[in-house]
Symmetry: C2
């Protein structure tokens, strides 16, 4: 009888119970889902400490009826829990390229099926709890009551447990090329109000809106990151902060009518991710974003290879050279303007001879590719004119001989890297896409740097709305048909799609090295980027500036907020399968010993470790090259003088290595003395330790090579 | 001295004179341009009677600076006349297809160059005066002070000299599929206010906005038509009426930000046209629209041929059959939904056997092509869902065998006509365009009916804005690369571009025959269309409905507002190089004698004449086939019983012809007795006359064939 009563009680409890808990495999994280009086909520603890307090879930939607939008009940309340399932997943997969050779995807999953009683609409939420955080997404199964609907807003909350410190940029529908602010959550509003008042044209959509990924640190040292994974056929998510209660809510990028996402069930949303640890390095080492993306969809990936490149680019960024062929006219019409009749500017850098010089240098120093910008008709009026038919991506200037350079590069075992600046004119780019890609194939190009500089055309759309998000992936998929790799600048910040489409080898979507030439980046910029921007995928940061800008172009008074040594470190700390030695080749010729590190550094890895990390202060990485035994260490610093303390216990035991350390001299300084670097060699083993001085805006880079011949160690001290 | 003073006076006069006059070649029209205190104006007289009273010209613009729009002085005042030139042009050109074999382009031209003093901006206005009216356009030459600008509104006025009667449809950015209203100008507002109050979702942009072309008739019997020609890279023009002063002003179609046209000088606008005559037939016979367009840009036009076709279409329009393959699902995903696993609806008409039946019929009766709608995946959820990836234009349903039908049609010397319904999803269509056209070529299609049913995607754009206008021409040009002819339904109403791109063989852009099935057209609809819609180019009106709709589909209670005889007449009165016998083939089999006219009627002409015409009442045309001696006469009627009185003086003298007259019986009526037709044969010569009864909603059709053998005349009366 007791048993019967107990069973009955349990039955009753299970009938009314609307709460579900699921832990990470190690048991440290707990995801608590709770349907509170029909309102779906979740919370996340780490070892019983709240990371995300009780937060609501759901959507405001409209449905579509004969082309018109119709009001519909919000998908935020009135639900019952009709089903819940748990499962476990544990698999190791191999990325085509990456920070490590293998990645483990291990999580416990909870799937709850909710039904809204009044509408009979079904919404599923899938939670995956990893040992370093949480990912969850919404799913709308095929159902009679809900097929075509339009998201007015996603109502996903992330309730923070305190006035955390955060490194943020303001929410914006078109750019991430902004400096990070480091403030308390409560201080965001004040900063944005100041920014708004000084810049009439750039009102933010909210004074407390921020972009993701968002990096935070609680008062008791818990690092928290919020982002999304697998952004497909959906607008990018910003976060809007209720700064009374410290609750973030998703704020999607609208289209020009204010609608946020056009959906057709069955459909899933991107994943929303919460990564947390008391160890900053764990954030950097988290692979949640990649793990939440679909496995690789490209069958044959043999043509996808990391690329180390130089380019005809920095000279234009600094203003020394021009993209445009001529100064004679300021407006052109493709197919009408006869460039052969115009006077070539001596500043036009993308000319055959100059490119050959770069090909020679690349060949001599083992670089794979040479980027050339300004090779094609259209640069005279490409920017700021809202020009639709702005480039055709296949017609070179008169001084750029496509065939000659194709053959010359081939003879030197170097490829040229294509450049497709779209100026944001998306329809124009898509109209030319097949011809542009075929042109690349015909001329031996296999990678392209794309750009979206300028407001998106169709006018009224933005860089981060569903329309543009759809476009970027369209380009990646079509490129794969032609076996072409994509490096898309000014596109939406990545969300791990490179797992599914590994030909997406790079993006920008943050302030990169070019901004050193436009007034300079914050000194600590590269100590923050890996915690924010790089969570979603690699960045084509294009470091490697050795020579002060005003030596490259005396008219440019901007300077690089970095020592030379730190520039080398960035090849290790700013992970990317695509790495540029961005400076002019004549500048590298001045420093062959330092340049040697760039030549040596690997760009694909078996293994990566974070040795030291504090967002906004410093990051030190150690990485082992893929398929080899060399290790590389890199350290990037903020504006403080610091001492880095690392141990080499990652090295293989009982093996001796030569470590070549490229570091700041004691008097190095990013502003006053950036070129003060030194190179020292040591013998190291896995027992070695290093205490290394790091200058303001400085860093160091180490290449660590196993000793082959005892003679190599002659005269070297041991660390 | 006197001479000197005179010269000096003339010099003074020419310096201050800001007026220019130019007459038509015959001297009947006078165009008066007058720069009144810096404000450009024009007026147009016909034999000293005002057609257009003094009307202003110009633009409100903004310029573009670094992507932002900047306020700029209007281009409406502050001008001086810096130059004026006159010239004459007289040329006969040969259209690839048309209402006549040759067209004379004869005008006097005045070009005035205006300079705005404060901005130094130059605006040119080019006036061409023909013997039947006026065309003028603006031109912005290459100039330093004005290159990239955005039209906020065009400020072209057409000041009417009275409260004319007008046949109009309301201004609208997405559709022309509306019934014409016949009212005074002063009554437009009242009608639109009523229309607005009954239809909440469809507010017009103005209560006195109307579309072009616009047909009017003054109180003293002067017919006036306003339209535009050569609409390229510019938004479509509507007219907004100041109904106090009876002054129309251009109202351009905006983009989603409210901007009206993105311009880059050097650039010209479309032509604005004013056609006028006391003879209604002269309006129909005016070739001003074609003459203002650029000559043919396609080098080899041998593949462009008029098409007479039947189709698997009307059965879906009436609801008897379905476009969709299956009823089993109401939502599909291209490439995911497996149609082979779904149950085919017995109503799916586009199946191999049924299409073969149509091919057989076409072959037997001498038709060139068979249109098939509903052949391709996607029809289950194509409409009203704002679906982006809605069709791929190349994947057939399981019951439509592309290759089998290709070969079968070829064996029967018939082509299939392709159908590309885009659902307004422009980007999706463009992404598939090359593959879709190549698919056509591979499968022996050379013409396609395109559709844009539904709101345009990118959402926020409209059917008539610059964005869509650019798209339609992009499709026409690309089609020409594949030697494909275009018949674009729901696109912007044509403006004579078929002269430049004669592969544009048809458009819709008005209520067509399909509306007979959706509630019926106005009885007099086809007596108005040629005065409005057809001024810009042919319409794929798809007439030829013989059998009441409720016999084709008992569930459809709509009926055709037309007698059968009038349906035959439409092949003559609704000029088009593309003519469909739209009814079901089984319906034609019931009336082989009447159907004979459709088989016989030509679709390309040496010569055309208007015998009788009054907008809204009746139109009678006579046309001579191209390269032959047969004539065809057609008469379309309004809701009144009428007697048509025509003379056959257009026939070649001294030749006898057999005239077969397909006419209404005395008791015929479009509603109660539409199938009451009779066929009578006569011998006719150029001295013959005819008095022919025409029923309400009726008409008659006559084929006139030279007698070859006297035996033919046996037993026939002579007219």
């Amino acid at each position: 009888m007791k048993k019967l009563l107990l069973s009955f009680a349990l039955l009753l409890v299970s009938l009314v119970s609307n709460a579900e808990d699921i832990k990470s495999p190690k048991g440290n994280f707990n995801l608590h889902f709770n349907l509170k009086e029909g309102v779906p909520t979740y919370s996340l603890d780490l070892n019983n400490k709240a990371i995300v307090k009780e937060s609501k879930l759901g959507f405001d939607i409209k449905t579509i009826d004969f082309g018109s939008l119709v009001e519909a009940p919000s998908l935020t309340s009135g639900f019952t829990l009709v089903d819940s399932k748990t499962s476990t997943f544990d698999e190791v997969w191999t990325p085509v390229w990456g920070e490590e050779k293998e990645i483990r995807n291990h999580y416990n999953e909870l799937v709850v099926t909710l039904k809204q009683e009044t509408t009979e609409r079904v919404m599923i939420i899938r939670f995956r709890v990893f040992d370093d955080g949480l990912g969850f997404r919404y799913e709308f199964p095929a159902q009679k009551e809900l097929t075509y609907f339009v998201i007015q807003e996603e109502r996903t909350q992330f309730a923070m447990d305190g006035d955390h410190t955060t490194w943020w940029i303001p929410g914006d529908y078109d750019t991430q090329e902004m400096d990070f602010n480091k403030t308390k959550l409560s201080e965001i509003r004040g900063i944005q109000e100041k920014m708004n008042s000084s810049n009439v044209s750039s009102k933010f959509f909210s004074n407390t809106g921020v972009q993701t990924s968002l990096m935070m640190k609680s008062n008791d040292g818990l690092y928290i990151n919020l982002h999304e994974a697998a952004l497909v056929e959906y607008p990018a998510m910003h976060l809007n902060l209720d700064d009374k209660n410290m609750v973030f809510e998703s704020w999607l990028t609208p289209d020009m009518q204010g609608n946020k996402g056009y959906m057709q069930a069955p459909r899933t949303t991107p994943w929303r991710t919460v990564i947390a640890s008391y160890n900053a390095g764990d954030i950097l080492m988290s692979r949640i974003t990649l793990n939440l993306n679909d496995p690789c969809k490209i069958e044959d990936t043999s043509w996808i290879k990391p690329v180390k490149y130089i380019g005809v680019w920095w000279e234009m960024i600094t203003g020394k050279s021009s993209w445009a062929y001529t100064d004679e006219v300021s407006t052109i019409e493709l197919g009408v303007t006869d460039y052969t009749k115009l006077k070539a500017s001596p500043k036009h850098a993308a000319n055959t001879q100059h490119v050959k010089d770069y090909i020679d240098f690349a060949s001599e120093h083992g670089f794979d590719q040479v980027l050339v910008e300004g090779w094609n008709e259209g640069w005279e009026d490409w920017f700021g004119k809202s020009k639709d038919y702005v480039f055709d991506f296949t017609t070179p200037y008169p001084d750029f001989n496509v065939v000659e350079l194709r053959d010359y590069a081939k003879s030197k075992n170097v490829k040229l890297m294509m450049h497709h600046e779209t100026s944001g004119a998306i329809r124009n780019y898509e109209r030319h896409l097949d011809k542009a890609f075929q042109f690349m194939v015909d001329n031996n190009y296999n990678s392209v740097k794309g750009g979206y500089v300028g407001p998106i055309i169709p006018r009224g759309e933005t860089h981060y709305g569903q329309w543009a998000v759809n476009h970027y992936l369209y380009v990646v998929k079509k490129a794969a048909e032609y076996k072409i790799m994509i490096n898309a600048h000014e596109a939406v910040r990545p969300t791990g799609l490179c797992r599914t489409y590994p030909n997406l080898i790079g993006n920008e979507s943050a302030k990169g090295t070019e901004y050193e030439s436009f007034g300079g980046n914050h000194v600590d910029h590269t100590t923050i980027l890996p915690f924010n921007r790089l969570l979603g995928g690699p960045m084509d940061y294009t470091p490697g500036i050795f020579v002060p800008i005003n030596e490259t172009n005396p008219e440019n008074t901007s300077y690089v907020r970095s020592t030379l040594a730190r520039q080398l470190a960035l090849y290790v700390t700013m992970y990317s399968p695509l790495q540029m030695a961005a400076d002019l080749i004549e500048n590298y010729k001045q420093f062959p010993d330092a340049f040697q590190f760039i030549k040596d550094v690997a760009i694909d890895w078996d293994k990566s470790l974070v040795l030291e990390a504090e967002p906004g202060d410093f990051i030190t990485y150690a990485r082992k090259e893929k398929g080899g035994e060399r290790w590389f260490v890199g350290r990037t610093n903020d504006e403080e003088k610091r001492t880095s303390k690392i141990e080499f216990d990652f090295l293989t035991p009982k093996i001796k290595y030569i470590a070549t350390i490229y570091s700041d001299k004691k008097d190095a300084h990013y502003e006053t003395n950036p070129q003060a670097y030194q190179i020292t060699k040591y013998v190291v083993t896995n027992k070695s330790k290093l205490k290394q001085f790091v200058a303001p805006g400085g860093g160091y880079a180490i290449s660590i090579v196993p000793v082959k011949d005892k003679k190599e160690t002659k005269g070297l001290r041991k660390l």
